[in-house]
């Protein structure tokens, strides 16, 4: 046995030593990690407070301008991903029908991320490296957008997130923008609403462990709610895909809170609402834009009635943009957008297209600068101005779930939360 062991050891050593030699011998590339550099582009009149990518970017060639989109067309985020894709398709179709950019047509290349971070990365790499798109639109999920932002940074391509609300996303660099509000705003607005309007003082938080979106929103909500003087009764966790939440709810019930904040997606919030009622935890429910789906009332039953959540806009709003959009969407796809991601996908694409029209850019870095200067664009989800931090500054709605559908109860103007 001893001899044999020596043999294996010898083989191992024999393998490792040359391996190390090769590793050392090869030309080690110098590090160009854009995330750490703080240089600001000075060649242009445009100055960004955030670090811009140090790359030349992609150029548009030929008669078409390619815009990329990543969406979760499979997997857990599919309902949102599919909607965002539909919205983007609608926007591009309109743009082309209106004559495109001086006769040049825009093509939308959509790639599937399978709701996986790595899938998002390879999808973006295909768009950026293979299709040479000028801009990337998407993702609805923060975790995946972050991965895509990494890729875009190296290539010098702007990315406009559709529904990724996580705060630290746009801190990644000057190339990340979004068409939605952030958890910073959402969490703070919800905490204020819970404290001021619902008069909650002792609220329980239920977080989806698996979703970066949910953990981020819960964190922000907790922070602001506590700073307002409220108390967090308890925080419980589950994972997307779970079915039974009675254990967590019973736990919450024992702490006798006066409100329940669910930061997860509607796929779990519905069953949570039903089970909340079943075990007799009779407190108002509150949540983020993850609740948004026309099917929430079906899955939540009577348990969800009376719950409030925050959303980007609502299909029944009277603004002409909304009415127009819903009519066009219904005409093209046969049904109203099921989630707000339809409108946000439409808005995100229009942000890119507006910048394209204003700058006539054929290079992605130029387009990036144009996107950063988009101002007062009349979007479906409100008048959009891209702020210096890359976030869209626009109002949001608080909706209440009623038997026949959602009803807007309060409009929250844009504000920045300062501690």
């Amino acid at each position: 046995m001893n001899n044999k062991r020596k043999l294996t050891l010898a083989t191992l050593v024999a393998l490792i030593i040359p391996a190390a030699a090769i590793l050392g011998g090869c030309p080690a590339k110098t590090e160009t990690n854009g995330a750490t550099s703080n240089s600001v582009s000075t060649s242009d009149t445009f100055v960004s407070t955030r670090p811009l990518p140090e790359a030349t970017g992609n150029d548009a060639t030929g008669d078409t301008i390619k815009i990329g989109m990543i969406a979760s067309l499979n997997g857990e985020n599919q309902p949102w991903g599919v909607d965002s894709k539909k919205g983007a398709e609608l926007a591009v179709e309109e743009f082309n029908a209106a004559g495109g950019l001086d006769g040049k047509m825009v093509t939308l290349v959509v790639e599937d991320t399978q709701s996986k971070p790595e899938g998002g990365k390879s999808a973006t790499e295909k768009l950026v490296g293979q299709d040479k798109v000028l801009a990337v639109i998407g993702e609805v999920a923060s975790g995946i957008t972050l991965q895509a932002a990494d890729v875009c940074q190296e290539a010098g391509v702007p990315i406009v997130a559709v529904g990724a609300t996580r705060v630290d996303l746009t801190e990644k660099g000057g190339h990340v923008f979004r068409a939605c509000f952030t958890d910073n705003f959402q969490g703070a607005a919800l905490a204020k609403y819970a404290y001021d309007d619902l008069k909650c003082r002792n609220i329980a938080v239920l977080t989806d462990r698996k979703l970066p979106y949910s953990t981020g929103l819960s964190e922000m909500f907790t922070k602001v709610f506590v700073s307002l003087g409220g108390k967090i009764a308890t925080e419980e966790f589950y994972e997307a895909g779970n079915i039974d939440f009675k254990a967590q709810l019973t736990n919450i019930k024992s702490k006798t809170p006066d409100g329940l904040f669910c930061s997860g997606y509607f796929t779990e919030v519905g069953p949570i609402a039903r089970q909340r009622e079943q075990i007799g935890l009779n407190v108002p429910m509150l949540g983020g834009d993850g609740w948004d789906s026309t099917k929430l009332i079906d899955s939540g039953g009577s348990g969800i009635i009376g719950g409030c959540f925050m959303n980007h806009y609502h299909n029944s709003e009277k603004r002409p943009e909304v009415q127009d959009f819903v009519a066009k969407f219904t005409k093209k796809f046969g049904a109203e957008p099921a989630t707000a991601m339809g409108a946000l996908g439409y808005d995100a694409t229009n942000v890119v297209l507006t910048a394209l029209t204003s700058s006539k850019a054929t290079n992605s870095m130029n387009l990036l600068k144009a996107i950063a200067q988009v101002k007062d664009m009349k979007g479906v989800s409100g008048v959009i101005t891209i702020g210096p931090d890359g976030n869209a500054q626009k109002p949001a709605l608080i909706l209440k779930v009623e038997k026949g559908g959602f009803v807007a109860v309060k409009q929250v103007a844009f504000f920045e939360f300062k501690e």
Binding site: K4, L7, T8, T11, L12, A14, L15, P18, A19, A20, A21, I22, L23, G24, G25, C26, P27, A28, K29, E31, N33, A35, T36, L73, N74, V110, E111, D112, Q114, K116, P117, E118, K121, S122, E125, K126, V128, G129, Q130, D131, S142, G143, L146, Q147, D150, V151, E154, A155, R166, R209, K210, L211, P212, T215, G216, E235, F237, E239, G334
Partner: protein, 487 residues
């Protein structure tokens, strides 16, 4: 599952030892490998786009993982379904250390990466040991469930380490958001090197007496114990080595991807790895590499699928099912001398089909696609031709292939009829007509179907227990001669 006596004998016969020859070949091999990698780094890498790079890196990574899992599943016969856990632990441990200390340590990147690879390997190996030790008590499916459980536990633990209340000691691994800020150090040649190391390790293992004891554990644990093989130790060794390699792959992945999200290491990664090992042929290193690379390329390559309307899809499916069922009946009926002529006649469509494959590869070459995928498809088309035209399989394979081609062509023809039929049925047409499936919808359905079809046709895997080597090629050509001479 039985290892043929030949494989055992052949693996023994080549162990005659001669020091001079041994070291010349060894050193020669290393020099060659180093030169090859250097050439790759110099000429290939700068010419590849990031997407080509990703596909290449992913295929290499998964090939490495498949080889390492092959050591546990294939060679030692321990059914592990939690390989993603080792991969994850290697990635997260090394990634965490890198993200914390790389900037301040002042160690150059070329030294830091191997260090991290070792760290990942050690971390994963320790976890492998942890899984391996209890595995001595369990066999077969129970072990499978247990390893699957370990895989899930590892993921859930990582997801909960976000520096919050539920994290152990406030450990922050980024939680569900993923670990960020890992420096990018991995180059393509690192992965290739790791793959070579993994292959060399398993191959050398098989060539020595050690390997025989591993195989004996797979074939019959009781008999192995009876002949003096310490089966427990063998199993734990297999787990540890397999885990260590997976850990290294994880470390390289972390330093390529720059972030580690637990969502990328779900159970389906483990399943996919098991699928790679089984499709390649349990115990075959070559098979593991081939299926690892081709499954990953297939997964990405299917992105280029064109969209198709629902009517066309279902029309074609119905036509295909009908023709396959009919053809089966027809083929069954033809017997005796007619069969021989029939088979000969089928060679013609077989050849046409091969020609089509080559032509398709040629056409694909001009398409707007990733170079890596294009190369892979061309290689597959060529390999198909070579395999079919090799006389040892000429008599059986080509007519079979021809039959499949005929059925496919017929089905395509009939599909127009079935489509028209679908249009005739008003309520069905109303439902189907507006639906148009995109590539993304079809990708995974086709992928899983391909998995099932391969398994149904070749349950023992593509390579079964064989290895690709000079002997293997000689065997094919040797047979060719023998068959060529025979009347």
């Amino acid at each position: 599952m039985a290892a043929t006596p030949q494989t055992l004998v052949s693996s023994l016969s080549s162990t005659r030892y001669s020091a001079g020859k041994f070291w010349t070949t060894r050193v020669g091999t290393f020099v060659l490998i180093a030169a090859f990698l250097y050439a790759l780094q110099l000429f290939l890498t700068p010419n590849l786009g990031i997407y080509d790079m990703r596909i290449l890196v992913n295929s290499l990574l998964y090939a490495t993982l498949a080889v390492s899992l092959n050591l546990i599943n294939g060679i030692t016969g321990q059914f592990s379904m939690g390989h993603a856990a080792f991969y994850l632990s290697g990635a997260i441990i090394s990634g965490k250390i890198s993200s914390m200390y790389y900037k301040t340590a002042g160690v150059p990147g070329w030294l830091w990466l191997p260090l991290m690879v070792v760290v990942g390997a050690v971390g994963a190996a320790l976890i492998g040991l942890l899984v391996g030790i209890p595995s001595l008590r369990l066999r077969g499916d129970y072990l499978a469930v247990m390893t699957m459980g370990f895989g899930e536990i590892a993921r859930v633990i990582v997801i909960n380490q976000d520096g919050g209340k539920q994290a152990f000691g406030g450990l922050d691994l980024g939680g569900a958001y993923g670990l960020q800020g890992v420096p990018k150090l991995t180059e393509m040649y690192h992965l290739l090197l790791l793959l070579i190391v993994a292959i060399a390790l398993s191959r050398n293992l098989l060539k020595t007496a050690h390997g025989l004891s591993f195989l004996s554990v797979r074939e019959d644990e009781l008999a192995a114990d009876a002949t003096g093989v310490h089966s427990t130790r063998i199993k734990v060794t297999a787990f540890t080595i397999g885990a260590a390699i997976a850990g290294m792959a994880g470390a390289l992945f972390a330093h390529y991807n720059r972030s580690v999200s637990p969502d990328d290491f779900k159970m389906d990664v483990s399943f996919m790895l098991v699928a790679m090992v089984v499709i390649g042929g349990t115990g075959s290193i070559t098979g593991a590499v081939i299926s690892g690379v081709s499954l990953k390329v297939l997964e990405e390559g299917l992105r280029a699928l064109p969209g198709i309307s629902a009517t066309a899809l279902y029309g074609f499916l119905i036509a295909l099912i009908v023709t396959v069922l009919l053809a089966k009946q027809v083929f069954k009926r033809i017997e005796g001398p007619a069969r021989v002529t029939f088979d000969k006649a089928l060679i013609v469509p077989g050849l046409i089909g091969l020609g089509c494959a080559l032509f398709g590869a040629y056409r694909l070459w001009g398409a707007d696609m990733s170079v890596v995928i294009k190369v892979a498809f061309v290689v597959i088309a060529l390999a198909l031709n070579v395999a079919m035209l090799l006389p040892s399989s000429f008599r059986t394979a080509l007519p079979k292939f021809g039959g499949a081609m005929v059925v496919l062509a017929l089905a395509y023809g009939v599909s127009f009829g079935t489509q028209a039929l679908l249009h005739k049925i008003a309520p069905l047409a109303a439902v189907l007509d507006p639906i148009k499936y995109q590539a993304a919808d079809l990708r995974w359905a086709i992928f899983s179907l391909a998995l099932v079809i391969v398994m149904l046709n070749r349950p023992q895997g593509i390579m079964s227990h064989q290895e690709f080597s000079w002997d293997f090629i000689k065997g094919i050509f040797g047979k060719k001669k023998a068959i060529g001479v025979a009347p």
